[in-house]
């Protein structure tokens, strides 16, 4: 069952939390909603669940308009950020609760709940109360409770945010496994980009209630549609250099550095040039950027350097084989396809055109 959002808008007293979202989530797809705090992720999820009713716009489950339908009737499964397990019920009763509400016979409900508990590997904890479980175990109970009624849609609101790094990694693989095993359409809210990029079929990046870009994870990383997307993804963050148009090419602000870009679709007065730290390489062969190294640190297997050009600082992850020293001058360059251009005024991506096309 596809989920279709049509100009979905949610206005609280003085703030537009979700602003004219139009998109389709395909059957069986796992979509991540990613974005900074307060961008409207939870609100979008609440709208999908029916716990909030939109100010305007429609939601369709398949062909059915469910915009006005109450949460009780939508038959979705939801995992809350704080799990919201019923504290007075045992694990088994918690998982059985949605079935009890659907008046499923007790014996069948018990069997299905146990089956689900096995799937999320908490079969040995059925008699415990939620208060006696670890965070990771609580989360599995929450997932089991959401899945037991065999919903068409599973909504997850930052379900991993309370877990430690290792458990997080384990659990997100688990969620992916269960989602694919059950073949359910899932929307996964997170503000952790790594989580979003690793788990999902598609990522929607939001800012101030507006979807900035929706695409497959790698594509979002490789081809950011605007400056915000480019700067939001990646750690350490992408370098964004402001360059002004000069007679033949662009000049880096407050420096003598000028570059010739001959393959842009348009040439606005001021552009932002984005290069990810890991896309730089050290070279002596006519590098695009030359400057003084002001800082070196080792992160895992890479070396992170900071290089100063005029007023601008560039971060680059380089191969430790280069014997670099603080104070030395160094040349950095990147492959053409890894250099992104954005219009300073609008923040939108400026497409590059193939050299061949340009000559044609």
């Amino acid at each position: 069952m596809d989920i279709r959002l049509n100009n979905l808008t949610m206005v609280f007293d003085d703030i537009t939390a979700v602003d004219q979202i139009t998109t389709t989530i395909k059957d069986g797809e796992l979509v991540s909603l990613l974005g900074p705090s307060g961008c409207g992720k939870s609100t979008t999820l609440m709208l999908l669940s029916g716990l909030y009713k939109p100010t305007s716009g429609q939601i369709f489950f398949g062909d059915q308009d469910v915009t006005k339908m109450d949460a009780e009737k939508r038959g979705i499964g939801m995992v809350f950020q704080n799990y919201a397990l019923y504290p007075h019920l045992s694990v088994l009763k918690n998982i059985m609760f949605p079935l009890k509400m659907k008046k499923v016979p007790k014996k069948e409900a018990m069997e299905r709940a146990k089956e689900m508990a096995e799937l999320v590997q908490i079969g040995h904890l059925l008699d415990r109360k939620p208060g006696q479980l670890s965070g990771g175990q609580q989360q599995r109970v929450a997932i089991a409770r959401a899945l037991v009624k065999k919903p068409n849609v599973l909504l997850l609101d930052e379900p991993l945010s309370n877990l430690d790094a290792r458990l997080r990694l384990e659990m997100r693989e688990e969620i992916r496994r269960i989602q694919q095993e059950v073949g359910i359409t899932a929307v996964f809210v997170t503000h952790d980009q790594e989580e979003a990029l690793s788990i999902s079929d598609r990522v929607m990046l939001m800012k101030s209630g507006v979807i900035q870009q929706e695409s497959r994870p790698q594509e979002m990383y490789k081809r950011p549609e605007n400056e915000f997307v480019a700067s939001f993804l990646g750690n350490p963050p992408i370098n964004l250099l402001t360059m002004k148009k000069i007679e033949n090419g662009y000049q880096l602000e407050k420096s003598a550095h000028s570059l010739l870009f001959s393959n842009l679709a348009t040439y606005p007065k001021s552009i932002r040039v984005g290069i990810r730290p890991e896309d730089f390489f050290v070279t002596k062969d006519n590098p695009r950027f030359t400057g003084e190294i002001i800082h070196i640190e080792t992160i895992g297997r890479d070396t992170l350097i900071r290089m100063q050009i005029g007023d601008t600082t560039i971060r680059a992850l380089v191969d430790p084989v280069h014997q670099l020293k603080v104070g030395a001058t160094c040349g950095l360059d990147g492959k053409e396809e890894n250099i992104h251009f954005f219009d300073s005024a609008s923040g939108q991506r400026i497409e590059t055109v193939e050299r061949g096309e340009k000559h044609a």
């Binding site: 009780e72 504290p87 007075h88 609760f97």
Partner: protein, 297 residues
């Protein structure tokens, strides 16, 4: 603090408790023990504080006193009449007030007023309401074609009158306690229950009631104890009489009569002791039931 108590720490603890403990012992514990002992005084010269004989005569005497039996019966009826209705009403009102309704603060104040008003003032107002000729209640009943009732002078209606007033009087306190309990229930459980397909009524029975059970338990224990101890309301509503023809005679009123009006200290102490036992038994029963049904986090 997961230390095991040692003799030293225990001693230190007692030292801190001592001031309060002294006052409690002198003004509470000692009188309780004395009155307990007094209930066994069979032959007592209270001018010289000499006890000539101990025995169970007082116990035999009060259980043969028809007034005491009446008092027990009336108190039982009072508790049965007040406690369940009061709990249901106050919980219902608290649930309504807990919704996001307009003027909720205003209503909260209104309901709490009876609690902060003195029993005497309340009783004066209610004796007007109950007045057989000019009373508000009879006036309203008149709309439905019901003849005036002598609420305070008819032995059949004295107890209902007392019960109605007491319910009204206790409502505010219970509502506040229930409201506090309701506010402690996280919104997330209701959201989860909605998603799980629970209707409003199902949410009430499956989420609100169990999570409110400690509060319900607390309120019912307090209400029952207070119900058994009822006195001021009777005294004030019926102008220092236990209602027409003893129809509102309660156990504490009986104790008061024996002690202050008849100077029968032994009998008064015995009645007090019997009341203590009754309350004690009820509290134990509630604790046992509570352990089974009340959910504590």
């Amino acid at each position: 603090m997961l230390e095991k108590p040692t003799w030293k720490s225990t001693l230190k603890g007692f030292l801190y408790l001592l001031p309060a403990l002294l006052i409690l012992i002198i003004f509470n514990i000692y009188p309780i023990i004395r009155s307990f002992l007094m209930s066994f005084y069979t032959d007592y010269d209270y001018f010289n504080d000499i006890v000539h004989e101990y025995g169970f005569d007082n116990f035999i005497a009060i259980f043969q006193d028809p007034n005491f039996i009446t008092a027990l019966k009336n108190t039982g009826i009072f508790v049965l009449g007040v406690v369940p209705i009061s709990i249901f009403l106050s919980m219902g009102i608290a649930v309504l007030l807990n919704n996001k309704i307009k003027l909720a603060g205003f209503f909260r104040t209104i309901y709490f007023l009876p609690f902060v008003t003195s029993v005497v003032a309340v009783s004066i107002v209610w004796s007007w309401i109950y007045h057989s000729d000019y009373g508000l209640l009879n006036y309203f009943l008149g709309w439905f074609g019901i003849d005036p009732i002598a609420w305070l002078n008819d032995p059949n209606y004295a107890m209902p009158a007392l019960i109605i007033m007491s319910i009204w009087k206790g409502l505010g306190f219970n509502i506040i306690i229930f409201l506090a309990g309701l506010q402690n229930i996280g919104e997330q459980y209701y959201l989860a229950a909605k998603v799980d397909g629970a209707s409003a009524w199902k949410r009430f029975t499956n989420i609100t009631l169990p999570l409110l059970s400690p509060t319900i338990f607390f309120v019912s224990i307090i209400s029952i104890i207070n119900g058994f101890k009822v006195f001021d309301e009777v005294f004030a509503l019926f102008n220092g009489r236990p209602g027409p023809a003893n129809s509102a005679l309660t156990v504490v009123y009986y104790i008061y009569q024996k002690f202050y009006e008849e100077w029968q200290f032994g009998l008064a102490s015995t009645a007090a002791f019997v009341l203590f036992i009754i309350i004690f038994i009820f509290t134990i029963i509630q604790l046992v039931i509570g352990r089974r049904f009340v959910h504590y986090n």
